[in-house]
Each structure stands twice: as structure tokens, then as C-alpha cells.
Symmetry: D2
């Protein structure tokens, strides 16, 4: 099973594109995405806005959770902010924690360019009964 | 106490600006923000990307948590998605749940243009010892 | 629709019973439970253990989420602790935030005997396809 | 640094004791706890009550977060239920995700006697300025 179809769908995500976020890889139960921090990503006090970090993590989570052959929709997600981000490249790596018949869980770590952990994200998805082609 | 200074800081949030998000109001322990859904906000399957909804809610939370005279930084946030969004105007309303000496909690409801609840968000902040001018 | 059957099931919850937790009321999409703080509820530093407060809230959430005619199983829950509890009676009130076909969300407020909010809880449930008799 | 003092405090946790929960180990930034499932731990439909699993995880989290020389108080915790538990021994292992000056984060995995993951827990603590003797 390759993940061509999921990759195609995610490459058409307009909010991710507008935010400069790129899908790096997608495999069975995992995915990664990255973003190069730009001027437009800062908040009013000069650090990277939490919404960008969440969007990056959520994107990796969505790709990973849709890699299992059925459409998965986000039910609930949380993010813990660990280190303020000033610049560089951020990478989000999503890994599967569990994949039941109806519910799946993913853990996403977000690292900066020096490898430091800047945030952790946990996503829960509901799995539809369809076949999404993967 | 007005919240002029906080308003000023939030009006300079570049990621919110780039995402089309506007601060509507800010009061003691509360704030609201809105966004008109545009083409650039959609994900790969034609519904509004979760990252936009989170960013909207997080923005209202950040404004509300910084309205209390001290700088508040986000520690942990979660969002539950209730109804897929196809378009229209989204409004996020943040209200204070608690404001202790070090930790404060906010609840944010996100509604669409018909008044339907599309998501709920809970944000926890750490309050610094400074005076942020509000 | 009364909620007799759900009440019956919840009155047989052995961990709630062992913990001194009582179901107070159950209605459509809501429920409340309470506990009188006893010596056995304290942690090692003399305040009420967080696990008891969670168990109380979770019990009210479970009753509320099972009041809608189908079995609901907890998927994910979180609790924010607001005020340390030294004693008295704790009451948890669960209210429905959303009830979709597959996923429902509940908010539970936990108050002490003076009416102060001591914690807030958010529970997400998956709804099975059965008919649970309510 | 041993963790004798923290061990002593946690061995006096009355709700953990009443629930049959035992601290297994405590080290720098980590701790584990276990419980043998008994009749009193079941809910009204014959599976182990979520409150017990949360209490076990929370206990390991509290021990781990207090192993760093300062008192840490729980701010917010969440749990995702992965597999229903019917019996046997449950073990919770808490590991540090981050430990900042004011806020620390822990991840707790809860496994059953066969090694299966039954739940995951994320705890956020606020660190006081004291010296707790560890």
C-alpha cells in the first residue's frame, strides 16, 4: 500500500499551503510535515504564533490518521507549548498510538531546527466506514 | 481599565492578519474574534481546515488571558470539533473560567454564521509576574 | 423517556460506591453526582486526591452520555484543577455540549460545598449503534 | 539524589491506598505505579472503571513531577482510553516530556498484564518555588 491518494489530497490543502506548510512523508500510521518560519508567522510580541504550530501538527496528524485505508476525521486535539519559537524550520512528526475500529490516537512531536522539542500534540480521530483508497 | 495596549499588540499579530482573523472585542477576562471564510482556508477535501478554527479560538483566548494586567502565555490548549464548516463567518468568544495567581483557564466557543456551535476550545495560561499595562 | 435503566446500571458501579460517590440526578443529556469528602479521599499532603475529583466528574459524564438511548463509551477526558479541596461535599454537574450521530461531548463543573468551582472536566464519548433502553 | 522524601509522601496517599494502588519506583523525572484489579474496581457494566485508571496514572504523574526538587501541582490532565480492562495487573509508567522553570509535562502509559496499552495520559504541572527535599 502506498499513500499516493492521501498525499494528493493533502497537497491540495489550501490553508496549509497558504501557511507555508509542506507534507514531508507519509507511511502506515505516520506522517511528517515542516514549515520554514517567515515574517508572516509571528504574533504581536515577536514569537511564532501558536496557531501555526498547531496547524503544522494537525496537518501531520491528519495525514497519518488517513493513511490506514479509511477516512479519519479529527474529533479532539490538544497541544502543549514547551519552548517559544523565534525562527528556523519546524518539523512535526506524527506517530500512531492506537488504531481501533472506530477511534484512533496519534502523538505528534514538534521540533525546531536545533532538534529541541517545542510542542507536543495529541490527536483523536473517528474512522468512517468508507475505503479512502489507501 | 481599558484594554488599549492589549488591543494594540493583538492588532499586530501577523499570523492572525495573514489568516484573515480580526479581534472584535476585548474586556476583563473575555474577548472575541472573527474570520470570514475564504478560499484559502479550505483543506484538501473542501471543508475549513481545523488549524484555522484553532487559530481563531487561540487568538480570542490569548487576548482574554492578557486582559488581566499581566502577561499570560499559553501552556496547553485543546479543541473539540463538532460540526464541519463549509463557509460564512466564524466567531470565537472567550470567557474566563478561572484566574488564579499563576494559572488561568478560558473556555472558547466557536460559532458559525447561523449561530451553530462548530467547535469548543479550552485554554490554560501561565501568568507572569510583570505588569503588561492593562 | 425516563432514565431508569441507566440509573440502575450506575447505581451498581462498584468503584463509585467504594469511593463514596452517589448519582444525584440524570436527565436527557445531563446528570449530577456528589461525594462527601472523607479521610480516605486525601492524598499524602492532606488535600483531596485529584483521582477522586476526576472519578466524580467522569461518573456524571458517563451517566449523562448514556442518557440518550444508546451506549456511550468514554474516548477521551480532561480535567483542569482550579482550587485545592480540603473537605465538605463535592458536586459534579454534567451538561451536553454536542450530541452527534457518533460522537458526543460533555462539560462537567465540579463545585465544593460553598459553591466555588474546584475543577472543570471535558468528556468525549463514542456512541454505539445499540439501543440501551433509555 | 534519592527520592526518599517523595516516596514517603506518596506512600501516605490515602485515596491511592484505598484504591489498591502502589508506587513501584521513582527516579529523576519518572515514576511507575501499579494496581491489581479487584471486584471493587468495576463499573456497572463489568469493566474496570475509568476513574481507577486515571487515578493510577495521575499517581505516577504526581510522583514523577515531584521528583525534581520542587513541589509540583497538577494543573491539567487528560486521558485517552484505548482498550477496555477486564482484570489482571495494571501498570502506569510516567516519563518527563519537559521540565521548565514553572511548567512541566509528563506522559504516562498504562499497560495491562499482557503488555497491551490500555490508556495514555498527559499531565501538566505548575512548579512552586520551594525546595521539597528531593
Amino acid at each position: 500500500m502506498d499513500n499516493e491518494k492521501v498525499s494528493r489530497i493533502f497537497s491540495k490543502d489550501k490553508f496549509a499551503l497558504a501557511s507555508g506548510i509542506t507534507l514531508i512523508s507519509i507511511g502506515d500510521g505516520e506522517a511528517s510535515a515542516s514549515v520554514n518560519v517567515e515574517e508572516k508567522h509571528y504574533n504581536g510580541v515577536g514569537i511564532v504564533q501558536g496557531g501555526l504550530i498547531f496547524t503544522l501538527a494537525d496537518f501531520a496528524f491528519a495525514a497519518a490518521s488517513n493513511s490506514r485505508g479509511r477516512t479519519a476525521v479529527a474529533v479532539r486535539c490538544d497541544i502543549s507549548y514547551i519552548k517559544p519559537v523565534k525562527g528556523g524550520t519546524l518539523t512535526a512528526s506524527a506517530k500512531e498510538v492506537s488504531c481501533g475500529n472506530k477511534i484512533s490516537n496519534y502523538r505528534v512531536k514538534i521540533n525546531d531546527g536545533t532538534g529541541d522539542l517545542v510542542a507536543v500534540f495529541n490527536g483523536t480521530a473517528y474512522r468512517k466506514d468508507d475505503n479512502n483508497g489507501n
